[in-house]
């Protein structure tokens, strides 16, 4: 059927500059560029272009420009181009619209409406270049009270401590499974996490056997509804186990790795036959209540000999704070809360763009709820979903998070351009694909270097901002909303965030 949808992008090639090296043709796995031997020049098919910009970056002559197609339908405030085209696409295929990455809708980004404090005169700021700044964070349950015995100079903590994760900087890599992302991308995340003293999350796709020895020490492994790749060794090599209940990009629905992406290595790691769909059902079928969740949490604690913290990841949805309170009471050591702009490899567009609540509001209401109930110490909060910079991270911590998960930001560091075509499995950047030709493009050494650089850059910036506020340990900032002020927000928004308006 002929498609009535405009090409999304327009490719402009500067014929003067183009040296006909055919580099663009080889770079594009979508077949956008082709060489015409008769005319000895390259031609492009706009319809195939996903706007990933790979050819633009790798054209040695800088002869290519890819920009959004300027074609337009008659302007109509109700029928935007996106709505018209989605509708046409569905009329042509009869299918559910799929998309990748986090929501790109213009919901208010509260980070951009929150301002940070700084010290002036009465309270000196600290120079992080000269003075030690503590970013180390412990994730997990903390005791109600510490009992200390002192005999002479010997000081001993008598209270039994719960297992905690130690992170050198409050930035962890979010759950991205091997299968959704390529082996090289997965390994890059693992390498960078180990190098930077933080953790990567395996997602629900398992941890390849050969990586368990080297990377287990910086892994958080996930147990999701599909229960892929789980055995006792998997649970025990990791430093923490996360039960995935929900995901910010698609709250309430499960995952579905299409059979095309289940290659031999993915099948082995997930422990399923090659080429079958890897279906994660929407619910965990052994969890129908908080009681059942408690059973699973305890089962995992049993399976790991009570040596590892157990995290529960839920999507931020209406009234989730009450649910989270139940989760804490069910025994979770860490709650990961994934907000509206959380990313994904594939999600129905309707769900990604319409379900959930923004991360900022979620962190604040969750932290407040747990404090009110007096159980904040029983669980750490890891916030996820749409962290774009170090200032977002520090604001999240001031709103009450212990640490953050970064997903899209990590992918962007590796080369992702958020072209939102992850689900096709033809990622030209070698990130979200199982095609060996494409995944080979992502060099583990170089990509992990980029990731480590990102973590160290953000950590430096966080230290700078902390110093500016006159704080020398991140601990002291957690939940300290006095350091935040809102601009351009309604009163209810300020109330939910628990911050004052700027100038107050």
């Amino acid at each position: 059927m002929r498609s009535f949808v405009f090409p999304e992008f327009e490719i402009i090639r500067d014929e003067e500059r183009c040296g006909s090296c055919r580099g663009c043709e080889r770079q594009c796995a979508l077949g956008t560029h082709a060489y015409d031997p008769v005319a000895d020049r390259l031609v492009s098919d706009d319809r195939k272009c996903a706007g990933c910009q790979r050819c633009v970056i790798f054209c040695p002559q800088k002869a290519i420009v890819v920009r959004p197609s300027p074609s337009f339908y008659r302007p109509n405030a109700s029928w935007s181009r996106e709505k018209i085209e989605d509708l046409k696409r569905q009329a042509e295929t009869g299918g559910v619209l799929l998309t990748g990455c986090g929501s790109d809708k213009p919901f208010r980004i509260y980070w951009d409406h929150i301002l940070l404090n700084a010290s002036q005169v009465t309270n000196p700021s600290i120079d992080p270049l000269r003075e030690p700044m503590e970013l180390r964070t412990f994730l997990g349950r903390k005791p109600e009270m510490l009992e200390i015995s002192r005999e002479g100079k010997e000081v001993e903590i008598k209270t039994e401590l719960y297992p905690n994760l130690t992170v050198e900087t409050p930035i962890l890599f979010s759950a991205m499974s091997f299968g959704a992302i390529s082996y090289n991308a997965f390994k890059s995340l693992a390498t960078a996490a180990c190098r930077s003293g933080t953790y990567f999350n395996t997602g629900e796709g398992g941890l390849p056997r050969e990586m368990r020895g080297e990377f287990g020490r910086c892994a958080i492994v996930q147990v999701a509804s599909g229960r892929f790749g789980i055995d006792a060794e998997y649970l025990n090599v990791a430093q923490a186990v996360e039960i995935k209940v929900g995901q910010g990009a698609k709250p309430g629905i499960g995952g579905h790795l299409p059979g095309e992406k289940v290659s031999a290595a993915v099948a082995e790691t997930r422990m399923i036959p090659q080429g079958t769909d890897a279906i994660s059902p929407a619910p965990h079928h052994d969890i129908y209540s908080i009681e059942d969740l408690s059973t699973l949490i305890t089962a995992l604690k049993e399976a790991t000999n009570y040596e590892k913290p157990i995290s529960v990841k839920i999507a931020a949805v209406h009234n989730f704070a009450a649910i989270a309170s139940g989760i804490v009471r069910a025994g979770a050591d860490i709650i990961a809360i994934d907000g509206l702009r959380g990313g994904t490899g594939a999600a129905p567009k309707a769900i990604r763009d319409n379900v959930g609540i923004p991360t900022e509001l979620a962190i604040s209401s969750l932290d407040r709820r747990l404090r009110e109930e007096g159980i904040r110490n029983r669980s750490s909060i890891i916030a996820a979903g749409g962290f774009r910079s170090s200032s977002d991270v520090i604001k999240a911590i001031a709103l009450g998070a212990d640490a953050v998960y970064i997903g899209s930001a990590a992918l962007i560091a590796m080369g992702c351009t958020l072209c939102q075509k992850c689900y096709t499995g033809n990622c030209n950047w070698g990130i979200c694909t199982q095609n060996p030709r494409l995944s080979g493009r992502l060099n583990v050494e170089i990509a992990s270097q980029r990731l480590s650089n990102l973590i160290s850059a953000w950590s430096h910036e966080i230290r700078e901002m902390l110093g500016g506020m006159g704080i020398n340990a991140l601990e002291s900032l957690r939940g300290n909303r006095d350091h935040l002020r809102g601009v351009g927000l309604y009163e209810w928004e300020l109330d939910v965030l628990g911050i004052k308006g700027a100038g107050e």
Partner: protein, 274 residues
């Protein structure tokens, strides 16, 4: 009464498989009054101290038995449970052999990786959930959602044999493995929604199944010769484990079997617009 008779027939090391420790001296634990965690602490201590056989008496609902028995060195142990095992018996089990002289509750063999579970009685709901290896034999029936999302991979195929009947949602989302429902009492299968979302593996039912009992993704066909050979093998293993069962292999095999298989490995491949 049945349970009592069964207990008297237990012979140490009667299992044909994983029986390297046959004849080893069994260590006894009296579980009366023990909390779940205390019981499992004891089991782990025994495992680490090299015990090969453990008998636990007076079990009454203690959960997660067998779950905390993974060691990187893969110590293995045989556990005999007298009483009623609690939820998540043998969850994440890796390689051990557990026999329950009594009933088991929900979640037996949850995400079990390898090993063997024998229940001389009835099992509860979500039996063998997400199981990916090893074998479970249940003498009598089981509850709802048995074999939910069971899966297999190269060289590893979980097997679930249930002597009685199964309730609704048997083999939901099933992605691999073998389920054999022997329906010994001849109640016939009145359960519905069998194999909803199934995309791998195979379910064998003794007797017949109607189209309205299975999910849309499932195909019902009579078991052929190869199927019957497989079933026969597991029936004889089942009978080895439950000598008290008052049926012979020939009696069980005399009735027809049906096979439930998924129509496609990719049930949802046409669902999306790209």
């Amino acid at each position: 009464m049945m349970t009592k008779a069964a207990v008297s027939k237990v012979r140490p090391g009667s299992a044909p498989k994983a029986g390297s420790s046959a004849g080893a001296v069994a260590v006894s634990i009296d579980a009366s009054g023990l909390e779940t965690r205390e019981l499992n602490d004891r089991l782990r201590e025994l495992l680490l101290s090299g015990a090969k056989r453990v008998e636990i008496s007076h079990v009454c609902g203690q959960r997660y038995i067998g779950t905390r028995l993974y060691t990187p060195e893969r110590h293995l142990m045989e556990i005999d449970i007298r009483g009623t095992a609690g939820n998540d018996l043998a969850a994440f089990l890796s390689g051990h052999k557990i026999t329950v002289e009594g009933n088991a509750q929900d979640g037996v063999g949850n995400t079990m990786d390898s090993g063997e579970v024998v229940v001389r009685g009835r099992a509860g709901d979500v039996l063998g959930f997400s199981m990916r290896g090893g074998e479970i034999y249940v003498r009598d029936g089981c509850g709802y959602r048995a074999a939910l999302h069971m899966k297999d991979c190269e060289g590893k195929r979980p097997v679930l044999v249930v002597g009685g009947g199964a309730q609704d949602f048997l083999g939901e989302y099933m992605a691999g493995g073998v389920v054999i429902i022997l329906d010994r009492d001849g109640e016939s299968h009145e359960s519905s929604f069998m194999g909803t979302g199934m995309h791998g593996g195979v379910i064998y039912l003794r007797g017949t199944a109607r189209v309205d009992q299975v999910g849309a993704q499932v195909e019902i066909s009579p078991a052929d010769e190869a199927d019957r050979e497989l079933i026969e093998e597991y029936v004889s293993r089942y009978l080895d484990r439950f000598p008290e069962v008052d049926m012979t292999k020939d009696e069980i095999m005399a009735s027809p079997f049906v096979r439930l298989t998924p129509r496609s490995k990719r049930p949802y491949s046409g669902l999306y617009a790209y």
